[in-house]
Amino acid sequence: MELTRRDFIKLSGLAVASVALGNLGFDLKPAYAHAQTLKIRMAKETTTICPYCAVGCGIICHTDLVTGKVINTEGDPDHPINEGALCAKGASLYQLINNPNRVTKPLYRRPYSDRWEEVSWDWALGQIAKKVKETRDRYFVRFNDKGQEVNRVEAIAHIGSAALDNEECWLIQAMMRALGLVYIEHQARI
């Protein structure tokens, strides 16, 4: 079996740890080695690509099989572009995923209100669908001033996003174009 870069780093990490701790007068090697393997022993490994810049570095995520939470993210040594290295942002992916400030429920701001209210997904999506239809039906243009058939609505606009997966990008442009939007833009324009 060929040794991948990842295996090599795992092994050499253990070796270095063993040497470093060897001079303390008692033997921490087994405990340390055990601790190192424990973290990822009950975890599944998946690969992802960093969500920040466009270098496209490979990242390995370890997910605890019991809690389902991501417990570690690190550079993927096998990835030919970053070879395990990450910049400060990529290295912080863990804290992007596990962050107490993430919004967890849909929020709604009433007209003239000064605060957010928590609402359900069903209600939020239902309301948005209603608003889209109302606005579209009211402002849809079949023919422009020149009498040309245009079948569009200029009263609804969309921007975003360069952070979406390709498959999501395709669906969002399909949705917006099928609705008749022409004001469709995103990060690439600025």
């Binding site: 690509i49 466009a54 400060a88 058939e149 174009r177 022409v182 990060q187």
Partner: protein, 799 residues
């Protein structure tokens, strides 16, 4: 990028300009470092001395907004000292093409300018055609109207003196840089450019890029390893989102969005399918109808038939001659014309030029849908500084979405590599992946139209739309499949089979493909983007091609225009860094940019620049709205009252916005040049970094970098709070007084420049500072309308 990240290691000279790669694409610097270890020379040109500059062999300062002057001088140097790669220039570029006699250039204006409409009649720039309908050529490059001579004349005005006067770059540094870069004009040396928004965010942004393309074509650096024109894009999938065309003017695969005057699909296809009478030109866009029909089939599935023009009428049309780009969008919103708005994974209240206009514009909406991971300045605009919620009627819906690692799907990096990524954990709590949100929402809308009817429901109800989100299903649609049993080019395919490559797409409805460029990414062989195979041949390994890792478009070709990397016999200019090589029977190395045999085979072959109608690299670019050659114009807001190159102070085709929120300065009230930049620890408007303590603690607040000389003039000490102000707004920032910025000497007078990062916003952290885009102007490049956020005028004073 025409090339890719790892290929940078193969360059002999690397120019990093309009980019600070070490800080904004840090891991890319691994490959810059590898190149340097192999003896490459790194040149960095930037108004500030950055961490990229610290690693450069040669650093030169430049006043923001004068890149064409700088590059024009380089073009002049290359021509004057005969450093160009003659055979490449004659055989592979349009340098030998003869331009018609109406063409002219005088005092900053090209022939064909209409001052009333502020636009050009491009027929004045057309090539002179022979009787065969093909542009006449003079391969000796001597004809007075051949592109080469016109180029020479145009850039002979870019002398070292003039360039230095305008850019503020010392003459000896200019000469040194020109010498080193021009050394890549030989067969065995290649030079690459790494650039980013420092070049694109200008009213001459597109011409900045054109200038570098001309340099690279003159030096034979396109199509070769260690060469290319390499844009360092800013977001993890901005390449993919651009390819899938979340942009008003293009349909997925860079097809054109139809204008109202194109009544039928036939009219539309005719308009955009170039016809070329030269049999040696591949003129690849001649396949346009296959791609547009396959796209419509993907949009409307079985409902798109030949009889209904494949649903062409269901697609919205743009008015002829009108732009619907970002700056126009927010202008319309500010004028109250837009009622509903989706701000999906984007924060225009901090990222948009003249950001306060955007913030006020949102207050005029009836409703806003904001999809994001965290609270941000756009979703919460109604409680931002200067806003009175009691007066704002906008209904706002905030939909919390998943983080990247909570979804499965693909993203495309700057090197066109489409990479598949997996779901590490389910989305947090009730949060949904964007794909799920999009599918659910559209299904709710479809249900409403089904139940209630409504205005023109056809496109909505006929849309090819899934019941639930499945990234594999969408990826397969993007690749495309056969809609019926069919024979294409002698091969038999069954209904439902994945199309193996875009060479098999048809214009009769027998194929669907959501994006022809991605055809080949998910075939019967499987999900090519998910490959993790590092096998390479010796030839591929030498240049670090990694052709079996993930998948790249088009057809997994890693280096674009690679037919220009070989001579007429298909032999590499530089065998040590060969990209492709003709074996006598076929090509080895990268996927050749068209499998035809080399040019020595005559009519069986094709010219290398297959996406251009005539098949040649365009030194003369007759398609841009502001000229076939780049020309230096001052930024809209500039320290100079006069352009030293001509009477045209600003790009003559630029148009201004006219609401009361669009303020531009010319009166000298703001005498300091300003620019924006980014740091490693933050990303874009900071929505995904300001909430992370690990990153925020390293870069906690807005700062402005200024020279020691300017600080002394203003009585500002390092670390003090200051106000930076422009005609549009002001921000409070910590002053960083540094040696890394020095005043410029421009035309004899001293010009100061300051620089600010644009990562901050009022939501978090408290007193962290607000967006630098509150200062920037809402004016854009006339080709793309990308805002000029990299060169504008401000004043600075102590708080």
């Amino acid at each position: 990028m025409t090339n890719h990240w790892i290929d940078i290691k193969n360059a002999d000279v690397i120019l990093i300009m309009g980019s600070n790669a070490a800080e904004n694409h840090p891991i890319s610097f691994k490959w810059v470092t590898k190149a340097k270890e192999n003896g490459a020379i790194l040149i960095n040109v930037d108004p500030r001395f950055t961490r990229t500059s610290a690693k450069a062999d040669i650093y030169a300062p430049i006043r923001s907004g004068t890149d064409i002057a700088f590059l024009g001088g380089l073009i002049n140097y290359i021509i004057h000292n005969e450093k160009y790669f003659k055979e490449y220039v004659v055989e592979y570029t349009n340098a030998s093409f003869i331009v018609n006699s109406k063409f002219d250039f005088k005092d900053g204006l090209f022939a064909g300018y209409n001052p009333e409409t502020k636009s050009y009649d491009k027929s004045y720039w057309a090539f002179e055609l022979g009787r065969d309908g093909v542009p006449k050529r003079d391969k000796s490059l001597m004809h007075e109207r051949c592109v080469f001579q016109l180029l020479k004349r145009h850039f002979s005005r870019y002398t070292l003196e003039k360039v230095s006067e305008v850019t503020g770059t010392p003459k000896d540094l200019l000469k040194k840089i020109y010498e080193v870069y021009a050394s890549t004009g030989t067969k065995d040396r290649s030079g690459t450019i790494m650039y980013a928004m420092g070049w694109t965010q200008h009213t001459v942004g597109v011409q900045n890029i054109r200038a570098m393309c001309i340099v690279q074509l003159l030096l034979g650096n396109i199509g070769v390893s260690g060469g290319g024109v390499n844009a360092l894009r800013g977001e993890s999938n901005v390449q993919g989102s651009t390819d899938h065309c979340i942009l008003f003017h293009i349909w997925p695969g860079y097809l054109k969005t139809p204008r109202a005057s194109l009544k039928s699909l036939a009219d539309y296809n005719k308009k955009f399918t170039p016809v070329c009478p030269d049999p040696l030109s591949a003129n690849w866009w001649q396949n346009y109808p296959k791609y547009s029909v396959s796209f419509l089939k993907a949009m409307f599935g079985e409902n798109a038939t030949k009889e209904n023009d494949f649903g062409y009428k269901w697609m919205p049309k743009l008015d002829d001659g009108k732009s619907y780009a970002w700056l126009v969008l927010f202008d319309e919103m500010y004028r109250g014309k837009i009622k509903g708005f989706f701000a999906w994974g984007q924060n225009p209240c901090c990222s948009g030029a003249n950001a306060d206009k955007n913030r006020k514009a949102l207050a005029k909406l009836d409703w806003l849908v904001n999809v994001n991971i965290f609270d941000n300045e756009t979703g919460s605009f109604w409680k931002g500084p200067g806003m009175d919620p009691k007066k704002i009627k906008t209904e706002v819906f905030f939909l919390p979405c998943a983080v990247s690692a909570e979804k499965e799907g693909s993203v495309t990096n700057s090197g066109r590599w489409m990479q598949w990524r997996y779901q590490a954990a389910k989305p947090l709590c009730d949060v949904m992946g964007d794909g799920e949100i999009i599918v659910k929402l559209m299904n709710k809308i479809r249900d409403l139209y089904r139940k209630e009817g409504g205005v023109f429901p056809e496109p909505i109800l006929n849309l090819n739309w899934p019941q639930r989100y499945d990234p594999h299903q969408v990826a397969k649609l993007i690749n495309g499949y056969f809609t019926r049993d069919v024979t294409v080019k002698g091969k038999h395919f069954k209904k439902g089979e994945q199309v193996p490559s875009f060479a098999y797409l048809t214009d009769d409805g027998s194929t669907c493909s959501a994006n022809w460029l991605y055809c080949g990414s998910y075939t019967e062989k499987g999900n090519m983007a998910a490959r993790r195979d590092k096998t390479q041949t010796e030839m591929q390994k030498r240049i670090g091609l990694f052709p079996n890792w993930a998948w790249c478009w088009p057809v997994n070709r890693r280096i674009l225009y690679n037919r220009a990397s070989v001579d007429r016999n298909g032999q590499p200019w530089n065998p040590k860094k060969a990209v492709i090589k003709w074996t006598g029977k076929g090509w080895e190395g990268d996927v050749p940019d068209g499998g035809w045999p080399p040019l020595s085979y005559g009519k069986k072959s094709r010219y290398p620049f297959i996406m251009r109608k005539w098949g040649f690299g365009q030194i003369f670019g007759p398609g841009r709205v502001d000229g076939p050659f780049p020309e230096h114009y001052e930024p809209l807001e500039s320290p100079l009252k006069r352009n030293p190159f001509s009477s045209q102070r600003v790009n003559p085709v630029v148009k201004l916005f006219k609401t009361n929120a669009d303020k531009y300065t010319e009166d000298g009230k703001y005498p300091i040049v300003a620019t924006t930049f980014r740091v490693t620890e933050h990303w874009q408007t900071g929505v995904l970094t300001r909430w992370l303590p690990w990153l925020l603690e390293a870069q906690p607040q807005l700062f402005v970098e200024m020279s020691e000389e300017l600080a002394k003039l203003k009585g500002i000490k390092n670390g003090e709070w200051v106000v930076v102000e422009s005609a549009r707004g002001k921000v409070t920032a910590v002053a960083i007084v540094t040696k890394r910025l020095k005043p410029f000497k421009i035309g004899g007078k001293v010009v100061h420049e300051v620089a600010l990062p644009w990562h901050f916003g009022w939501v978090i952290p408290k007193d962290g500072g607000d967006s630098a885009n509150l200062l920037t102007p809402s004016v854009g490049d006339p080709n793309t309308l990308i805002p000029e956020t990299k060169a504008f005028m401000v004043n600075v004073h102590k708080l």
